[in-house]
Every structure is written in structure tokens, then in C-alpha cells.
Amino acid sequence: MTTRSLGRLRRTDFPYYAAHPDAVYLDSGATSQRPETVISAETDFVGADYAAVHRGSSVATGEATWAFETARERVAAFIGAGERELVWTAGATDAINMIALGISDASLGLGSADLALSAGDEIVVTEAEHHANLIPWQRLAARTGAVLRHVAVDADGLWSLDGMRREVSPRTRLISFPHVSNVTGQIAPVADIVGLAAEVGALTVLDACQSVPHMPVDFSTLGVDFAAFSAHKMLGPTGIGALYGRAELLDVLPPARTGGSMITTVTMEHAEFLPAPNRFEAGTQPVSQAIGFGAAVDYLASLGMSDVRSHEEGIAEALVETVTRTPGVRLIGPAPGDERAAIASVIVDGVHAHDVGQFLDDRGVTIRTGHHCAQPLHRALGVPATVRASASVYTDLDDVARFGEALGEVRDYFGVTA
């Protein structure tokens, strides 16, 4: 039973649930299950008419070609971008690196001087970053002499607009931050930060991995300069993600990865690059994965992202309610009642996260334990690892209830006195 109507969703659309109707899958923040339409979009494509997408005139070919060509349009439309503003990447990590490496090349004089960083320029991130939105900026800083600053998190793992305001200065050239934290579920005040960036003339990069799958997101309305997300967290395949960039920026950002299909004229000495998005798409692209990505976006769009968000708001409330009434369990992130994504990370008093995870797994509840690629955040929380439950469109209140039940038994099993 779902919390609010997600009318067109059937759990059995997902082969995973068709095979395991009783599964409690609460690890969608790591990677999501895929509907049959996504799996078969790929299989159909690589089967009988695979080669044909490149050339040919059969009806089947026309359809495959159309499927590939329109996948970009559909994913772009889904996040409020023009077609030229949506670059296929290997994943969100790859997308963020593409920005950082491109700015690095610009700083070495291999491209637009506007994007170049100099020694003493500042980059600002948060202490809540996923490593994917932290290490690439550390490396960029090391290459250019720029300084990496960060907004600290509080005891609940939260960062604030005020904190950001304190770190941003006229030296700030770039602000990168998570739209939704993959650990705390905190939702960033994007418009305020875009405003702050505008005041000082800084670029903005949005790590949208945990927002695009779960709520309506329109990058052009949000006004960010760049954004990154991955298909495998939004019902799509692994091996593909996307970089969003405002067209005029993408046209001048140097391409970090070079090779075939991204050029106009190549001599032994020099290469000229195509305009965006193709200038970033060197080599054979993840063709079938793009088609799968398109199918995933179609599935989400058919549910309606506003409905998805209100469904997941219900799940989030239930998660918070369940966790806060379980003795010996500490919920991190936004306080009960405050806005959050359907992510709940907890610390069980006296039981290591790994042991909690193993116990829940034995009870048929799949969650994630560890630092969730956010070591600095966990260091700030004072624990090496947390236990994270995270939802998606197919998550229902029964899942939450069974998670809560198992969580309630953990401390007893490990003999921790309440």
C-alpha cells in the first residue's frame, strides 16, 4: 500500500518485485530497481536490429534510430534543459569530473580564459558532500592553486545557508553543493545559493543525484550553471549519467575527454571540437543505455514527479516517525517535521552499523551501511558508519513498518541493554 496515490505504478512493473513480492528494498539511494520497460527498451534495441541504428532504411531501424535520437530530448525535457544542454556521461561522478577537468584545462590555457582559475581563487563546497562532489574539486584546487573552502555541518549533519554565506566571498569562483544529501536527506535552498553566487560572480554546480529521481527538478528555473545525475538511481541502467550545463558555458568548457565523434577537423597537430553537447561525447557512446535512460524518464514522467514527491514525503514522514520511536536509535539529519527527502540514516546505540545491516538483511530488509561515500560528514557525526534506509517510487508503508520492526529487535539480538 502506498501512502498517496501513485496511480500508474504497479510493483509488478518491476521484475524484482514480481520475483520477490515480499522484498523490503530500502536501498534506492544507492541504486534503484528498474521497471520491465527499461530492461526491454535495451534488450529490444541490442537484439534484432542492433547495427541498423547507424544507417539503413528498414522500419525497425527507423524506430531504433528514433529511440536513440529522442532519448536525449526526453531526458533533457525531464530536467528542464535544451537538447544542447544535456551531455551523456558514464555517470554523475564522470559528469562532475568533466566540469572540474574542463576548468582545469581552461586554467592551463587550453580553452576559455573566462573559466580559468588562478592561485587564490576559491571553490566552496559543503562538509556533507559525497566524495564525488569533493575530490574532483580538491584535485582542481591542487592543479590551479585555488583554495577549497567548505561549509561545516552541525551535530545532525546539516549545513546552512548562513554557513554558506560566511564561506562565500568575492574570491569565490565556484560553489558546488548537493541538492539533496545522500546521508541526511537535507534539501538545499538552491535559489538562495544561486543568488549568493550571482552576487559574487561565481559559477554553481549542483549535485542532483538524489533530487532528480525523487522530485520535480527544472535546472533552468533553478538557475544553476551545471548539474550532474545518474540513470541507475532513477530506474535506469548503470553505465550512463548526464551533465547539464547552460548552453553558452558548455560551448566554451574545454572537453576533458577527447577522441572520435567530438571533432570537426583533425590534423596531426590540432583538433577542432564540435559545439555542445557532442564536444563532450568522445568515442562510442553508451547507446543502449541512453535508450534505457529515456525509458526510465518516461516511466517517471508517467507517474508525475509532483506525485512522486508527495508519495515520498509520506514515506519520509513514516520513516522519521518509526525511527524516532525506536529506543536506542538516533536519527540524523533534519528534525522530525522538517522537510527532508525519503532518506533516513540512523545510529544504533551500542551496535556497529555493519552488524545492524546484517541483522536487517537476515530479516529480509535491504538497507545500506557504511560511510555512504561521505567520510567527512561521518567524521563530523563522530561515527565511522551509519545505517541508511532510502526510498523510491515503489517503496510503500509496509516497507517502512517492516524496517521499523526489525530495527526494534537489533539491540536485543546483540545483547545491548536498553
Partner: protein, 146 residues
């Protein structure tokens, strides 16, 4: 015995609650730090090998899940006082048992460490169980080289 109870045997839970061999590893002749990057568990193991090649003293500190803590604890009981060669042989046996996916029965020589047999079926936990053993192995290698 359910799968879970086979993993978390009473002996393991007991050791995890009251770990043996804890102490300052830096006070030993050789020490080595091991980290499991996927979960952040870490152990620093220290050992002093006497002139006859026996482990005269062994102490460790660390934090982590019950499997990693209990395993380091059981190992301390088992190998303190053992000769270097004996210890290395036991470490190999322990590793072989864990990696066997259940096909290798623990040798009698592993004594209480045989209780970790159930870990073999949980691929993700093998690294936890090995953490202290790998750290001691590094100490013994170093002591042999000097």
C-alpha cells in the same frame, strides 16, 4: 541454527563485548594499521617477537563491527606465545577457511577461531574477520625482515 546465528555465534558475541588482547600496539616492536575502506573499521596491531622467533607480546586497538573486534580478540588468545611460523600458518588456515565459501572445514588447530566458519558464507564480511589477522601478518613479515 539460522544463517544469522551461525554468523554471530555466542563465542563471537562474547568476545565482541569483552575483547581480549587490547592494549597499546605502539609499545610493541612492530605495529601495523589496517583499514577497511568500505566501512571505516580499523585495527592497529602490535607484536614483539623474541629471539627464538616466538610472539612474546601482542596488543591491539581499533574500532569496528562485532566480527572484526571478536576476530582480533580470538586471534590474540590463539596466537600470543606462538612461534612466528606457527602463527603465519594459522593465519593462512584462517584465510583459507573464510575464502572457501564453506567448502573447507576449519582445522582443529584454529581452536576457537573455528567459530568464524559461518563468515565464509557472507562474502561482504570476510574482510571484517580478516582485519586483525592481516595486520598481525604484516607485523610478523616485518619482524622476519629485520
Amino acid at each position: 541454527m539460522s544463517g544469522l546465528d551461525d554468523l554471530y555465534r555466542e563465542l563471537i558475541l562474547d568476545h565482541s563485548r569483552d575483547p581480549q588482547g587490547k592494549g597499546d600496539p605502539q609499545a610493541e616492536a612492530h605495529s601495523h594499521h589496517e583499514l577497511n575502506p568500505s566501512c571505516g573499521d580499523e585495527i592497529t596491531m602490535g607484536a614483539t617477537v623474541d629471539e627464538d622467533g616466538a610472539i612474546a607480546s601482542l596488543h591491539w586497538e581499533g574500532q569496528g563491527c562485532s566480527i572484526s573486534m571478536a576476530s582480533a580478540s580470538v586471534m590474540s588468545d590463539l596466537l600470543a606465545g606462538a612461534s612466528r611460523d606457527e602463527a603465519l600458518a594459522r593465519i593462512d588456515e584462517f584465510r583459507e577457511m573464510l575464502r572457501s565459501r564453506g567448502s573447507v572445514e576449519p582445522s582443529e588447530r584454529l581452536e576457537d577461531a573455528a567459530a568464524f566458519q559461518g563468515v565464509a558464507k557472507y562474502v561482504m564480511r570476510i574482510k571484517c574477520a580478516m582485519l586483525g589477522w592481516v595486520a598481525l601478518e604484516a607485523c610478523l613479515m616485518e619482524s622476519a625482515a629485520t
